[in-house]
Amino acid sequence: MNHIGKSAKKTLNALNQSLPVVVGVIMAISLLKTAVPESLYSTIFTGNILIDPFIGSLIGSIAAGNPITSYIIGGELIKQGVSLFAVTAFLLSWVTVGIISLPAEMDILGKKFALARNIICFIVSFLVAILTVITLGIVGEL
C-alpha cells in the first residue's frame, strides 16, 4: 500500500511538472496552425537546389501538427516543382525537429538535451534527404 502511495505521489508530481508545459505547447501549436495557412508554405521555396532543402528543413522545424498534413503539403510542393531534396528535408524535420515544442522539451528533459537533439535532428534531416534522393536515383526510381 505504501508503494502505491509513493508511486501515486511521484506520478502526481510528474503531472504537476509536465501538464502546464504541455498545455502551453498545445496553445502555441493551435495558434500557429490557425494563423499560418498551408498555402503559404509553397510560396517560400526559391527553386534553388541548394537553398531549398535548407528552407524545407527550416519550415518543417517550425511547422507543427499531424504528419498527414506534412505529406499533403509535401505532395503539393512536388507538383509545384519543388525538389525532392527539399520536400524530404521538410517531411523529416516536421516530425523530428520541434521548435514549437522546444520550451516543453527544455523544461522537462533539460535545456542541453533539447537543444542538442533538435540541432542534430535538423542537420540529419538535411543529410537523410540527400541520401534518400541519391539512393532513389541509384535504384532507378527518379
Binding site: 508503494h3 509536465s18 523530428t96 520541434g98 542538442a116 539512393t135
Partner: protein, 171 residues
C-alpha cells in the same frame, strides 16, 4: 513554479489576440479543443505508465535494460518503442524524464524520439503521396540514422543533463 512560465506566456499572447483578432482567437480555441481531444487519452496513458513504472520498475532494472550496460537490446528496444509510440512527441517527455531519473541512457532517449518519425499507421498515406520505394528507403534511413542521432545527442549532453536534473530537483 517555472513550469507555469510558458503557459503563462501563451495565455498573455492569447489575451492580446483576443483583443486584436477575435476571429483568430476563436479559431485557435477550436483548434485547442480539437488537439486536446486527441492528446488527453495518450497523456492519460503516459501517466498510467509512469505510475506503474514507479510501482514495479526499480532503477536497477531500468539501468540493466535501458542503461549503459543494456547494449544492443537497449538500441532495439528504443527503436521499436519509438516506432510503436503514438501521439504528439511532447506527450512522451514526462515518461522519458522519469525513466532517465531511473537510469535510462541519453542516447536511447534520442533514438526513441527520432524513431517517432516512423508512423506505422500513416505509411499507406505516405506511400500514396510519394510511392512505395521512396517510403521504404526513407523509413530504413530514419531507423539507421536514429542510432547516430541518439549517439551524437549523448555525446553532446551526457554528464551535463544529469547535473541539470539534480539542479532542478534542488529547486
Amino acid at each position: 513554479m517555472r513550469q507555469y512560465y510558458f503557459v503563462g506566456f501563451m495565455i498573455a499572447i492569447y489575451l492580446v489576440v483576443y483583443f486584436t483578432s477575435p476571429v483568430l482567437f476563436h479559431d485557435s480555441m477550436l483548434e485547442n479543443y480539437s488537439i486536446l481531444l486527441q492528446v488527453i487519452p495518450i497523456l492519460a496513458l503516459v501517466f498510467v505508465f509512469i505510475f506503474f513504472f514507479n510501482l514495479f520498475l526499480k532503477p536497477d532494472k531500468i539501468k540493466k535494460h535501458l542503461g549503459k550496460e543494456a547494449g544492443m537490446k537497449g538500441w532495439v528496444f528504443s527503436i521499436v518503442a519509438g516506432i510503436l509510440s503514438s501521439g504528439p512527441i511532447y506527450v512522451w517527455y514526462p515518461l522519458l524524464s522519469d525513466l532517465r531519473e531511473k537510469g535510462m541512457r541519453t542516447s536511447f532517449m534520442g533514438t526513441f524520439l527520432y524513431n517517432r518519425s516512423v508512423k506505422l499507421p500513416l505509411l499507406p498515406i505516405m506511400i500514396y503521396y510519394f510511392g512505395f520505394i521512396y517510403t521504404l528507403i526513407l523509413t530504413v534511413y530514419i531507423i539507421l540514422t536514429s542510432v547516430i542521432v541518439g549517439y551524437l545527442t549523448e555525446l553532446v549532453v551526457d554528464d551535463e543533463s544529469k547535473s541539470n536534473l539534480y539542479k532542478r530537483k534542488d529547486n
